[in-house]
């Protein structure tokens, strides 16, 4: 693979001596070159199994997001053809129960240079640790902050916004609205507490004030009504907005109508964050949504978008920088921060320190994308996108 990329850059120098600008931007490969991408999933992955309705909470079954990869390849086909690049995608569903480290070597031997890892968290970590240097790995599913801070040395790129980016987006929203006093209500799950903590940190970062943070319990025991009755819990000091962290989604459905004061709810109800939404109306999103719907016969969600953006990023590195192997792809994306257009207004790219995809975050209600974070009043010396999430100074990771 190394030989190929050298050949490509030589050709660029030889063919375009008079046009350095053009040569720099679109290296022309000598003859057709292949870029092989593997889409890795787990057979019978629990994430995509039907969820039984419980207590009236119906969670729609999550669809397989791999059509996002097909769309990205179709979207980039004409441009790839212009530089004689052929992109191939191979789907691999690793058997249930089999250790996933075994997949790493096999995939590397197939000549693949990039892996779109649509796998559970543990598999992702195991796979990234086992992956040889010839594979760049793209996480298209996880939001966990510790995956961004705890595995700095792995060749792992994260497409979806981290939880910190999402709570930062909400904190920016309430501060620019001057709804600075926030009341935090969180549930019994560990994930609820994590989310509430992330929001507290975001509130501090942007200058919102936490009036109170209370944990709710689920039940009917009148002796525990101080933890169960939302009206009682929220009748304290005044606040402008309620941040709700209820990842279970049962209790939270009623919260907007049970508050003691008529205040908007954000978090897991009301105004929520998303990397992508089928209702997005700006920045060319309707066209992407329309293309996806025609291809997959369903709406495009954030998972589909993450897969689409990951494949686009790899192909973009190949088209713009002539990257044909994992090292060159990593350099182009993380070091050179090659811009990728993901139809969210501002050009996206990967952060060199933690390989997080910097991007606008959508804030949506039940039937509209209401706003895109970051918001105008918040500035950053590099790009306003870096006001969202863990900045270089706060991250334990360093550009490699």
């Amino acid at each position: 693979m190394n030989r190929l990329s050298i050949a490509a850059s030589c050709a660029a120098l030889l063919c375009w001596p008079a046009m350095p600008a053009a040569a720099e931007d679109n290296p022309k490969a000598a003859g057709a070159a292949d870029l092989h991408i593997v889409y890795l999933s787990r057979q019978n992955d629990a994430a995509y199994q039907p969820v039984r309705a419980e207590n009236g909470v119906t969670v729609p079954t999550l669809p397989d997001p791999s059509p996002g990869a097909d769309l990205a390849i179709r979207d980039t086909r004409a441009t790839a053809r212009a530089v004689d690049l052929t992109v191939t995608l191979d789907r691999r569903a690793w058997p249930e129960g089999a250790p996933i480290d075994g997949a790493a070597d096999e995939i590397a031997r197939s000549g693949a240079v990039a892996v779109i890892a649509d796998v559970p968290r543990d598999d992702l970590v195991a796979f990234a640790k086992a992956a040889p240097k010839t594979l760049a790995v793209f996480d298209v599913r996880q939001h966990d902050d510790d995956l961004r801070t705890g595995f700095c040395e792995l060749p792992l790129f994260h497409l979806l916004p981290s939880f910190a980016m999402e709570t930062d987006a909400l904190a920016e929203f309430i501060v620019q609205k001057n709804w600075r006093r926030a009341f935090v209500l969180y549930g019994p799950a560990a994930a609820d507490k994590h989310l509430a903590d992330d929001f507290a940190a975001s509130a501090r970062k942007f200058g919102a004030k936490l009036v109170a943070a209370k944990q709710f319990a689920i039940g009917n025991d009148p002796r525990r009504r101080d933890d169960i009755d939302v009206s009682l819990m929220t009748s304290s000091d005044d606040y402008d907005v309620v941040f709700l962290a209820d990842t279970g989604g049962d209790f939270g459905r009623f919260v907007p109508w049970q508050l003691s004061r008529p205040r908007p709810v954000i978090g897991t109800e009301g105004l929520r964050t998303s990397a992508w939404d089928a209702l997005a109306e700006r920045f060319g999103a309707p066209q992407v949504n329309h293309r996806f719907a025609r291809l997959a016969k369903r709406d495009m969600n954030d998972g589909d978008w993450a897969v689409w953006a990951a494949v686009r990023s790899v192909v973009e590195a190949a088209i713009r920088k002539g990257a044909r192997d994992a090292t060159a792809i990593e350099k182009s994306l993380a070091e050179d921060q090659t811009p990728v257009d993901v139809s969210k207004g501002i050009e996206s790219s990967f952060r060199p320190w933690d390989h997080q995809f910097r991007q606008a975050v959508m804030l949506r209600s039940a039937d509209a994308v209401v706003a895109y974070a970051p918001f105008e009043p918040f500035l950053h010396r590099r790009t306003p996108l870096d006001t969202l999430g863990v900045d270089l100074e706060e991250s334990p990771c360093r550009p490699q």
Binding site: W16, M19, A21, A78, T79, Q287, V288, H290, D341
Partner: protein
């Protein structure tokens, strides 16, 4: 340029030819047409900015163009899948080309016979015979094709695919896509220098304009816009106009709320003019003393005095004005 000055006889011939091929052009009603994509209206202004008429158009009108004789106004209507033809004098609907999927921009061949339409959803450019309304040709394009330009010599058609970061060039005679040119992020619109040698393409998200050499079909230069006090991502160039002497270009900068003035010779930006919120389409008056700029997010058209480089009037129009066209 004395060497190119036509002899008296040749000039007379040229004049006659002009009269024969474009009789209405010489007359020119002076009307300024403004399409408004959200309110589906076309506004009509006088050169001084008085609104003399507005009429309901087909749904979501965006790109507009005159037929070569200026008797008809062609309008691309995205939500109706239509390209409509209005009478320039009476503003009455004259003709419709239906089943053109979500048209935004298009170009008319210089002979006025063929419409080159970009179909955003189908990644295609279609060619419509303007007399019969028949689709005579399909060209597969990159994704989200938008800006279309037919060179005045009738030889080439340029199509920009915004999601594919690609400009494709159609050779009209051989009916083939002869070149794919990779651009920076989100190429949107074109303009051509008066000498026909360079095509300018605006890259909206990358925030620059790239210059394509028509002879070699390669990118030979770029214009960047460093607006003092603004960040790179707030600069989103879209529409462009170049003065007839080929020296000065005007570029709307979208989110930067300004129009850039560019010295074509050096490709350097010499000035920025604040015009309104998200300037989109723009046109120069024939005498080049005025620039008309559609401000998409402040629902008005700014009239700029090009000598003073200042807005002299802002005219409220419909909702989300998109393109400006001047009949003179």
């Amino acid at each position: 340029m004395p060497s190119s000055r036509p002899t008296r006889a040749a000039a007379a011939t040229l004049l006659i030819a002009a009269l024969v091929t474009s009789p209405a052009r010489a007359a020119g009603t002076g009307q300024i047409f403004v399409s408004n994509e959200r309110s589906s209206q076309i506004f009509v202004l006088t050169p001084d900015g008085d609104v003399t008429a507005s009429f309901e158009s087909c749904g979501r009108p965006r790109g507009m163009q005159f037929t070569p004789d200026h008797s008809r106004l062609l309008v691309a209507c995205g939500s109706d899948d239509t390209i409509a033809e209005y009478d320039v004098a009476t503003h009455k609907l004259a003709k419709r080309f239906r089943d053109v999927p979500d048209p935004e921009a298009f170009a008319l061949s210089p002979d006025g016979r063929n419409l080159y339409v970009s179909n955003e959803d189908d990644a295609e450019a279609t060619v419509i015979d303007i007399e019969t309304g028949a689709v005579v040709q399909h060209y597969p394009m990159g994704d989200e094709p938008e800006g279309v330009l037919a060179t005045p010599d009738g030889r080439l058609v340029f199509v920009a695919s915004e999601a594919a970061n690609l400009v494709q060039v159609i050779d009209v005679a051989t009916k083939k896509v002869v070149k794919g040119i990779i651009t920076a992020t989100r190429p949107r619109r074109f303009t051509i220098t008066p000498d026909g040698k360079h095509v300018w393409v605006s890259d909206e998200i990358a925030g620059l304009v790239e210059i394509i050499d028509v002879a070699t079909l390669a990118i030979v230069g770029r214009v960047t816009f460093d607006v003092p006090g603004l960040r790179h991502d707030e600069i989103t160039p879209v529409d462009m106009a170049i003065s007839r002497d080929g020296r000065t270009a005007y570029v709307t900068l979208g989110r930067a709320n300004r129009v850039a003035v560019v010295d074509v010779g050096t490709l350097k930006t010499t000035d920025f003019i604040l015009t309104g919120k998200r300037p989109w389409g723009l046109r120069l008056s024939r005498d080049e003393t005025r620039l008309y700029v559609a401000n998409g997010l402040s629902d008005d058209v700014a009239i700029v005095d090009t000598a003073a480089r200042k807005v002299i009037k802002a005219v409220p129009v419909g909702v989300i004005p998109y393109a400006v066209l001047i009949d003179e």
